[in-house]
């Protein structure tokens, strides 16, 4: 019931506030997708059951997008015969679950509903005042426009009663909105008791995300279970970033040398967008990844199996894993093209020039130094944006093996 009220309010707001065409095309798609009266679909399981939106522009596009956005990735599988991907990796490659209703993206967390209700309320209030004021202006301008024979009529230049009325009414509205906003904000930020498996360490860096799970596995996709609170403990390795998942309506800045926290309670399995929303330089707009909300039980399977998989890899394969999951891929290619940093290909065992003019042998020692102390032996022509990534010795060995294989 509430949903339908929200829906009609939103339609009203949209149609009226945005009288200017353009937007008119937009509501058509989602309303086709969610037929007018699905039996009280108040509870959510119905939505993910039919995630393939009809003829909407969404399907397919994320894929072309991904290919276009990260040309560096294209080269990676070419070097090696493609390996079988784990099921959770395939899951993360599924299409985005995006079926926003008119104005807002889908809501997929418990706290999103509180803030959405307020959003709709403020939208309705704004629409009312907007049309009242604009209507009054248009009416008065037409009614009292200058024309032959028309003169300004004497009228009061002030009225205390009116002034007091239109001071008090906005004041009451503001107080109410403040109180409700504050209450739903408290819901969004008061982090409940969370089991250790659902506490995930988030590291942001220019320009990638890394999520470290309870089992020690790191991935650049955020995997979370449905219907359980999840807590994130976040920090940055360089500048400010900000964690934003529109479907959870949750956002929190990520700061260097400090921890910030956020939480959410996902309610709908699916694959959603995760953005960086604090400007952080060149690739800010590419610093985005996905949230995979797993069906009940799948998250535990993911934790167990990814742990197995991680322990079973070493050497070059581990290097490749590190390359893909820990952000190397953002700046280094495997095909010889320099990007923000030099390519991994074609330098092993050669002499490379350093920024200070000297030359050094590109060997295991060099790679180790370059990872542990990035600016110590910097090469000319590249910005000093390589962060200290904190790889383990085993992982560094893996990267060395990977580079060695790309002679």
């Amino acid at each position: 019931m509430k949903a339908s009220v929200q829906k009609s309010l939103a339609v009203l707001g949209l149609v009226l506030v945005l009288g200017l065409g353009g937007a008119a095309a937009q509501p058509a798609a989602p309303s086709a997708e969610q037929p007018p009266a699905p039996a009280p679909a108040a509870t959510d399981p119905a939505a993910p059951a039919a995630p393939t939106p009809p003829a909407a522009p969404t399907p397919g596009e994320p894929d072309t997008k991904a290919a276009a956005a990260a040309p560096a990735t294209g080269a990676a599988p070419a070097a090696e015969p493609p390996k079988e991907k784990a099921w959770w990796e395939k899951k993360a490659e599924e299409k985005y679950t995006y079926h926003g209703n008119y104005w807002l993206p889908p809501s997929a967390s418990t706290t999103a509903d509180g803030s959405d209700t307020l959003f709709i309320a403020v939208l309705a209030m704004s629409a009312f005042f907007f049309f009242a004021i604009t209507g009054a202006v248009i009416y008065l301008v037409i009614r009292y426009r200058h024309r032959p024979g028309h003169k300004a009529e004497p009228s009061a230049a002030h009225s205390d009663a009116l002034e007091i009325t239109w001071t008090i009414i906005p004041t009451i509205i503001c107080v109410l909105l403040f109180v409700y906003g504050w209450r739903s904000y408290m819901d969004m930020t008061a982090i409940p008791e969370t089991r250790p498996e659902n506490q995930i360490a988030v590291t942001a860096r220019k320009w990638s995300w890394s999520f470290r799970y309870y089992n020690g596995v790191e991935d650049n996709v955020l995997h979370v279970p449905v219907n359980q609170p999840v807590k994130l403990i976040m920090t940055s390795q360089d500048v400010l970033h900000s964690f934003f998942v529109p479907v959870f309506r949750q956002k929190m800045d990520v700061l260097p040398r400090r921890y910030t926290y956020t939480w959410f309670y996902p309610t709908k399995p699916g694959v959603y967008r995760l953005y960086c929303t604090e400007y952080c330089g060149t690739d800010h707009s590419l610093m985005k990844t996905k949230v995979v909300v797993h069906q009940a039980g799948d998250y535990e399977k993911f934790l167990a199996e990814s742990f197995q998989a991680k322990n079973n890899v070493s050497g070059k394969d581990l290097g490749m894993l590190v390359y893909e999951k820990k952000g190397c891929i953002g700046c280094h290619t495997l095909d010889g093209r320099p990007l923000i940093g030099p390519s991994f290909k074609g330098t092993w065992d050669t002499d490379v020039k350093l920024a200070d003019g000297s030359t050094v042998k590109f060997d295991a020692t060099y790679v180790h130094t370059a990872i542990v102390s990035p600016q110590a032996q910097a090469r000319p022509g590249f910005p000093p944006s390589m962060p200290v990534t904190g790889l383990s010795e085993k992982e560094i060995d893996g990267v060395i093996e990977l580079i060695k294989s790309l002679k």
Partner: protein, 554 residues
């Protein structure tokens, strides 16, 4: 000024020559130089805006790469905020009008006034130097630690902003003293035109808030050069502290931008309605209230920055307080139209546009003041659209309206009225088409400052870019016809709109010290005394019996 005060020649003609212009102490010439500088900067900032919008016409690469895009949006913001909108109404139009509305020969400190203009020039040059050195890519907010980290030309830009701050302080100080000391005996505070109330409130904020920006930028400078840890966490500093300092200035700065716009709108609405402004005292008080509240709400830019929840609660509550004086003003302006004789000339079209656009800007601000909604909308296109409705849809539209309103007085020429009306329509349509779609994509999660975006946002970005082009073309035509009319426009009469404030009693264009002899103070916003002389497009004051005009009532 050694020049002779020739009472028959206008300020444009007396003491000609470039040298006399560059060393002038006349507030009108300084205002005029400011105006041309600001219009130039407006075109530059507008060009950056169009580059940004064109790049965003399609996802991924459209015309420029990521780094250039980042520089373009930074330069657009820095140029528009520091060079155009902050000095726009006070320094250019305020300089021109404030002393005349007081019946005074000049501002209190003419030399300070000229130095303020040259500081503006130096600041502008430094910003241009940073463009030549490859531009800056920090965003106009210079957030640390990115601004300490980036390889781009931050230093000249920061120095430019620092110096522009002083230019703003000088103007504010000058206006405060002028209003206090040069107000004629028989003009009480409540006989002042509302424009002067607004300029007074603005000057208060300029003088009190801008030093904090200066200090902040200086600290940034010290940190970058001497590596003293203030904002950089690797040196033991605190990046969030920078945001507090920055917004402690930059939030009042938003009101430095909007309050003078409210002043000029009050003047135009009453003049073109031929009716006394409704609720004079409430409009005047609400300008001062906005100036005071503006100092207490900076934390609402930082609801998700990591600042404490208690601070967020307090700042959210205080932020709502800003909505109330703004609402009062809108209601009073609307009521002014009631029973008027409304003339839809160009300045009035801009004033009415302002009324609608400011209403949208204000109402969307309510969304952002609600804590939980702000968490969702912070740093998305919703915020971008909101502040453009306030800064551009309101302030710049008011600036354009005021420019058309006072242009005949300043230049002695009329602009082409019909073309001007068409352009004001272009500005209104183009503006809304640019920014309305941004509200929707912001609500749906499109983050700001993104070079690339996800496919579901394409349609909104394309509408927005088309709107921006309409807006750009309209503004360009406005600047062109104003320049054209400066030489070729029809000669302007003394009082083309039938205004009741003192500037309409001065010759057109005014003479060197404005009034050949001290003027009588007319009854403020009393339109009954004026009769339209349609043949000359002028309004003439009816000879009134008695001395009603000069006494006022205390």
């Amino acid at each position: 000024m050694s020049a002779s005060a020739d009472n028959t020649k206008s300020y444009l003609e007396v003491n000609p020559g470039l040298r006399n212009w560059l060393w002038t102490l006349d507030h009108k010439r300084i205002g005029m130089m400011y105006l041309f500088g600001i219009l130039g900067a407006l075109l530059l900032g507008g060009a950056f805006a169009l580059l940004v919008r064109i790049e965003l016409f399609s996802p991924g690469l459209t015309i420029v790469g990521k780094d250039w895009y980042n520089k373009f949006f930074t330069l657009h913001g820095a140029v528009m905020v520091f060079l155009v909108i902050i000095p726009g109404i006070p320094a250019a139009l305020g300089n021109m009008v404030l002393p005349i509305q007081l019946g005074a020969p000049d501002v209190a400190f003419p030399k300070l006034n000229l130095s303020s203009f040259y500081l503006w020039c130096i600041g502008a040059i430094l910003l241009l130097v940073s463009v030549v050195l490859g531009g800056i890519d920090t965003g106009w907010t210079f957030y640390t630690p990115y601004s300490l980290d980036t390889q781009t030309a931050v230093i000249p830009a920061v120095m430019g902003a620092f110096i522009l701050g002083f230019s703003s302080i000088f103007t504010g100080l000058n206006f405060l003293v002028t209003i206090h000391k040069f107000r004629p005996q028989n003009m009480g505070w409540f006989q002042m035109p509302l424009n002067l109330w607004a300029l007074y409130a603005t000057a208060l904020m300029q003088v009190l808030a801008t030093p904090v920006l200066g200090i902040t930028l200086l600290l940034l400078f010290v940190e970058r050069f001497m590596h003293i840890g203030i904002f950089d966490p690797t040196l033991g500093g605190d990046p969030v502290l920078f945001q507090h300092f920055f917004w402690f200035y930059s939030h009042p700065a938003v009101y430095i931008m909007i309050v003078p716009a409210m002043g000029v709108i009050s003047e135009m609405l009453t003049t073109f309605s031929r009716k006394h402004i409704f609720g004079y005292r409430f409009i005047a008080y609400s300008s001062v209230a906005l100036a005071l509240f503006s100092f207490l709400v900076w934390g609402h830019h930082m609801f998700v920055s990591g600042q404490s929840r208690l601070a967020n609660m307090v700042f959210s509550a205080l932020t709502f307080s800003v909505g109330i004086p703004s609402a009062i003003k809108v209601f009073n302006w609307t009521s002014t139209l009631y029973k008027g004789d409304i003339r839809l000339q160009t300045p009035m079209l801009y004033a009415l546009s302002f009324l609608i656009l400011f209403t949208i800007g204000g109402l969307t601000g309510i969304f952002l003041a609600v804590l939980s909604i702000d968490v969702q909308l912070h740093d998305t296109y919703f915020v971008v659209a909101h502040f453009h409705y306030v800064m551009m849809g309101s302030t710049l539209v008011a600036f354009l309206g005021a420019l058309h309103y006072w242009w005949p007085k300043m230049s002695g020429r009329m602009y082409p009225e019909r073309l001007a009306r068409v352009c004001s329509g272009g500005v209104f349509v183009g503006f809304n088409l640019t920014f309305l779609p941004q509200f929707i994509m912001g609500s749906r999660g499109m983050p700001r400052r993104y070079w690339d975006y996800d496919p579901e946002f394409t349609i909104f970005h394309q509408l927005s870019t088309i709107g921006a082009l309409i807006l750009g073309v309209s503004l360009f035509i406005v600047v062109v016809y104003l320049f054209w009319s400066f030489k070729n426009g029809k000669k302007a009469p003394k009082n083309p709109w039938g205004g009741t404030t003192l500037e309409w009693e001065a010759p057109t264009p005014p003479t060197l010290y404005n009034f050949p002899e001290p003027p009588e103070i007319p009854e403020l916003y009393d339109y009954d005394d004026l009769v339209e002389d349609e043949a000359n497009g002028n309004w003439i004051r009816k000879p009134r019996s008695g001395a009603k005009a000069s006494t006022g009532h205390h």
